[in-house]
C-alpha cells in the first residue's frame, strides 16, 4: 500500500532576482513498512524533498498524495494537522524544547492533538520506555547526553503512532557508537512495522535502509534496493 506518492514535483526558490530550482522533477512512491534512505550531496535537493515529504513545505509544481490525501494544495493548518498525526520527525540537532523535561517534550505532539492529560502522560511514558529512557523522564535536554536526547526525539516522533518516521541526519551530531544505538532503535521500529524515511549523506548510515534513493541536482539519480543491508545491533550494556 502506498503511503507516499509524489508525481513530477518541482520546487523553485526565489533568491534575490535569481530562481533556484531545488527540485526539478521528482516522482516516487513509498509503501507502508518501507525503510528508505534519501541520499545526495549538499545542494542535491534532499533537504527540500524531506521538507515536502514531511509536509513542512509545499511543492511549487507537481502532486503529492499522502495516505490518499492531496497534500500539495493544503492550507497551513491542514498541513500542521498532518504533521501532528501522521509524521514523526527526528532531526539532526534533536530540536527538543530546552526548558521542558523529556516527558513534556514527548507529550507536546499529543497536546497539539488535543489529547487529555491522563492519556497523554501514559502514552508519553510508554514511548520513553520504548527508547529505554524510563528513568530520565524528568530530565531536561541539557541534563541528557546526545544519544539520550536523540532517543527523546525518537520517542516524541513515535508517540502519535505516525504513518511515517522522517529522520533527517539522525546520527549527524552523534559519535559512531551512539549513532549505531540510534540506528538499532530505528531497526526495532522498522521490525515493528513502522515506515522509516532516512535522509543522510553518509553511505554507511544509508546502508541500514532497504532502499536508497539518490538525488543529484534536483533529480532522482538512482533508486535502488539494497540486497545486503547493514543491520544495526543494539549494544549490550
Amino acid at each position: 500500500m502506498n503511503i507516499i506518492t509524489i508525481e513530477h514535483i518541482a520546487k523553485i526558490y526565489q533568491v534575490g532576482t535569481e530562481e533556484v530550482q531545488a527540485l526539478r522533477d521528482v516522482s516516487l512512491t513509498i509503501d507502508k513498512n518501507e525503510y528508505v534512505a534519501i541520499m545526495g550531496p549538499s545542494g542535491s535537493g534532499k533537504s527540500t524533498l524531506m521538507n515536502i515529504l514531511g509536509c513542512l513545505d509545499t511543492p511549487t509544481k507537481g502532486l503529492y498524495t499522502f495516505t490518499g490525501k492531496h497534500v500539495s494544495d493544503m492550507t497551513d493548518n491542514d498541513l500542521a494537522s498532518i504533521r501532528n498525526k501522521e509524521i514523526g520527525f527526528v532531526f539532526q540537532t534533536f530540536n527538543l524544547l530546552a526548558r521542558s523535561d523529556a516527558l513534556h517534550n514527548v507529550e507536546l505532539p499529543l497536546i497539539y492533538a488535543g489529547i487529555g492529560k491522563e492519556e497523554r502522560r501514559e502514552r508519553a511514558r510508554e514511548a520513553l520506555t520504548k527508547v529505554n529512557l524510563e528513568d530520565r523522564m524528568d530530565h531536561r535536554p541539557n541534563e541528557l547526553s546526545g544519544g539520550q536526547r536523540q532517543r527523546v526525539a525518537v520517542a516524541r516522533a513515535l508517540v502519535t503512532n505516525p504513518s511515517i518516521i522522517l529522520a533527517d541526519e539522525p546520527t549527524g551530531n552523534l559519535d559512531t557508537k551512539t549513532g549505531e544505538d540510534i540506528m538499532a532503535l530505528f531497526e526495532t521500529l522498522y521490525e515493528q512495522g513502522n515506515t522509516i524515511i532516512l535522509v543522510t549523506h553518509e553511505e554507511y548510515i544509508a546502508e541500514h535502509a532497504k532502499r536508497i534513493i539518490r538525488l543529484r541536482d534536483g533529480l532522482v539519480e538512482k533508486d535502488e534496493i539494497i540486497e545486503t543491508r547493514r543491520v544495526a545491533q543494539p549494544r549490550q550494556i
Binding site: D57, D76, S81, R83, L96, L97, G116
Partner: protein, 415 residues
C-alpha cells in the same frame, strides 16, 4: 471547549516559564504597564472622589429637594443688566410667600453678609461666609450638628446676636473645641456661638463648602450688615416634600410669586426659581472635562507601556524562532502559536496591572491623608484587570501574529 481550555492552560504554563526565564527583562517591560495602570486607576478614582464630594457637598449645602427663589438666575442666557432691572425680593415677599405656599415642607429666607471677619482672640476667619436666615432654614437642609443647635424662632424674631459655625470655622476659631456659649466678633459685633455643624468633608467646593460657612438670624444680619447689601434682596428657600414633588412645588412657587408681584398674564417672570440641578449639571460638565483630560493623559502612559510590551514580545518571538519552528513541525497550528504568545503578553500585562493596582491602592491611601477624596471601589479592580488584559492582548497581537505565520522550514533553520 475542553480543547480550548487545555490549550489555554498549556499557553499559560509556557508563558509563565518564558517570563520566569527572563525575569529582569519581564520586570522592566512590565514597569510601563505598572505605571500606566496605576495612574489610570488612581486617576479614575480621584475623579470619582472629586465628583462624589462635589455631589455630596452640593446636596448637603443646598439640599436636593430645594428651590431657591431669587431675583438672580444661577445659570441664564439673560444678561445680568436685564436681571438687575428686576425688583429685589424683600422680607415682606418672603412672609407672603410663606403664608400662601402650601406644598413646601419648609420655607426660609436667606441672605449673605459680605466682607465679614470673624475674630476670636488671636484666631480669625476673614472674608467669612455669613448667611442670615431664620429657624426654618434647618428644615431645608441636611445639616447636622456636632454640638449645640440651630437658631431659634425667638432669636430670629428678636434679632439676637447668635451664630452657628461650620466645622472649619469652629475649628479655626476654637482650635481646642468648646465653642458653645463663647463670644466671637463679627466685624466688631459680639455674637454668641450656639451651634457647631458636623464636618461634611467636602473638597474643592470653593464658596459652596458647607464646612466653611456660618449662620446668624436674618434680622441680625439686617441690623448689623444690611446697609452694605441694601437693594440686593433676599433668596427664598423652599423645600419640597420629596424629589418627585419638586416640579409641583416649583409651579406653585411661580404662581405665588407672580401673584405677589402682581404680574399680568403677558408679563414675564421677574424672578427665577433656581434648583441645584443646574449646579449638578455644571459640575458634571466640568468633572467630565477633568475626566477626559485625565484619562487621556493616563491613557498615554498606558500606551507607552503597551509599546514596551509589544517591543519585548517581538524580541521574544525573534529569540524563540527556533522553538516556534519545533512546535510547528510537530503539529502546532497557527492559532496555537498565536494564543501562546497572546497569553504570554496578557500575563505579562496582567502581572503589571495587578502590581499597578496595588500601587494605586497604596497611593490612594497616601493621598487620602492629605484630605484629597479618593473613592475606591471594586470597579477599579475590574478596571485594572480589564485594561491590563486588553493592553496585553492588543500589544501582543502583532508579535503573536508574526510568530503564528512563520514558515516552519525557515523557523527550524533559524539559530
Amino acid at each position: 471547549m475542553t480543547n480550548f481550555l487545555f490549550e489555554l492552560k498549556e499557553g499559560l504554563i509556557i508563558a509563565f516559564n518564558a517570563i520566569r526565564a527572563n525575569k529582569i527583562r519581564s520586570v522592566l517591560t512590565t514597569l510601563g504597564i505598572v505605571i500606566g495602570v496605576a495612574s489610570v486607576v488612581l486617576m479614575s478614582n480621584a475623579i470619582k472622589g472629586i465628583d462624589k464630594s462635589f455631589q455630596d457637598g452640593i446636596s448637603s449645602f443646598m439640599g436636593t429637594d430645594n428651590l431657591f427663589i431669587d431675583r438672580w438666575a444661577w445659570f441664564s442666557n439673560v444678561p445680568w443688566w436685564e436681571l438687575n432691572k428686576r425688583p429685589p425680593i424683600e422680607m415682606e415677599d418672603f412672609e407672603k410667600f410663606k403664608e400662601l405656599a402650601e406644598l413646601p415642607i419648609a420655607v426660609a429666607p436667606l441672605n449673605d453678609a459680605g466682607n465679614v471677619t470673624i475674630i476670636k482672640g488671636n484666631n480669625s476667619v476673614s472674608d467669612a461666609r455669613v448667611s442670615g436666615t431664620n429657624q426654618d432654614y434647618i428644615y431645608t437642609t441636611n445639616l447636622e450638628f456636632d454640638e449645640g443647635r440651630f437658631i431659634s424662632e425667638l432669636e430670629s424674631n428678636n434679632a439676637r446676636r447668635v451664630i452657628v459655625l461650620g466645622f472649619e470655622y469652629a475649628d479655626r476659631l476654637f482650635p481646642f473645641g468648646n465653642a458653645i456659649d463663647q463670644d466671637v466678633q463679627l466685624n466688631g459685633k459680639k455674637y454668641k456661638v450656639i451651634g457647631v455643624l458636623k464636618k461634611q468633608g467636602s473638597f474643592l467646593m470653593g464658596s459652596f463648602d458647607p464646612d466653611n460657612q456660618s449662620f446668624i438670624p436674618i434680622s441680625s444680619l439686617f441690623k448689623d450688615f444690611r446697609s452694605k447689601w441694601s437693594g440686593s434682596g433676599i433668596t427664598i428657600v423652599a423645600r419640597a416634600p420629596n424629589n418627585q414633588m419638586l416640579y409641583e412645588v416649583k409651579e406653585e412657587a411661580i404662581g405665588i410669586m407672580r401673584r405677589i408681584r402682581g404680574l399680568k398674564y403677558n408679563e414675564e417672570d421677574d424672578f427665577t426659581i433656581n434648583q441645584q440641578d443646574a449646579f449638578l449639571e455644571m459640575i458634571n460638565k466640568s468633572v467630565g472635562v477633568i475626566q477626559i483630560a485625565g484619562l487621556f493623559i493616563t491613557a498615554l502612559s498606558l500606551f507607552v507601556g503597551a509599546i514596551g510590551i509589544m517591543n519585548i514580545m517581538f524580541v521574544s518571538v525573534k529569540e524563540r524562532t527556533h522553538e516556534i519552528g519545533i512546535r510547528k513541525a510537530i503539529g502546532a497550528k497557527r492559532s496555537v502559536i498565536l494564543r501562546q504568545f497572546l497569553a504570554e503578553s496578557a500575563i505579562l500585562c496582567l502581572l503589571g496591572g495587578l502590581i499597578g493596582l496595588l500601587i494605586a491602592v497604596a497611593g490612594g491611601k497616601i493621598i487620602e491623608q492629605f484630605n484629597f477624596p479618593v473613592s475606591f471601589q471594586i470597579d477599579s479592580i475590574v478596571l485594572a484587570i480589564t485594561i491590563s488584559l486588553l493592553t496585553g492582548i492588543l500589544s501582543g497581537l502583532a508579535p503573536a501574529w508574526t510568530a503564528a505565520k512563520m514558515d516552519p522550514v525557515d523557523a527550524l533553520r533559524y539559530e
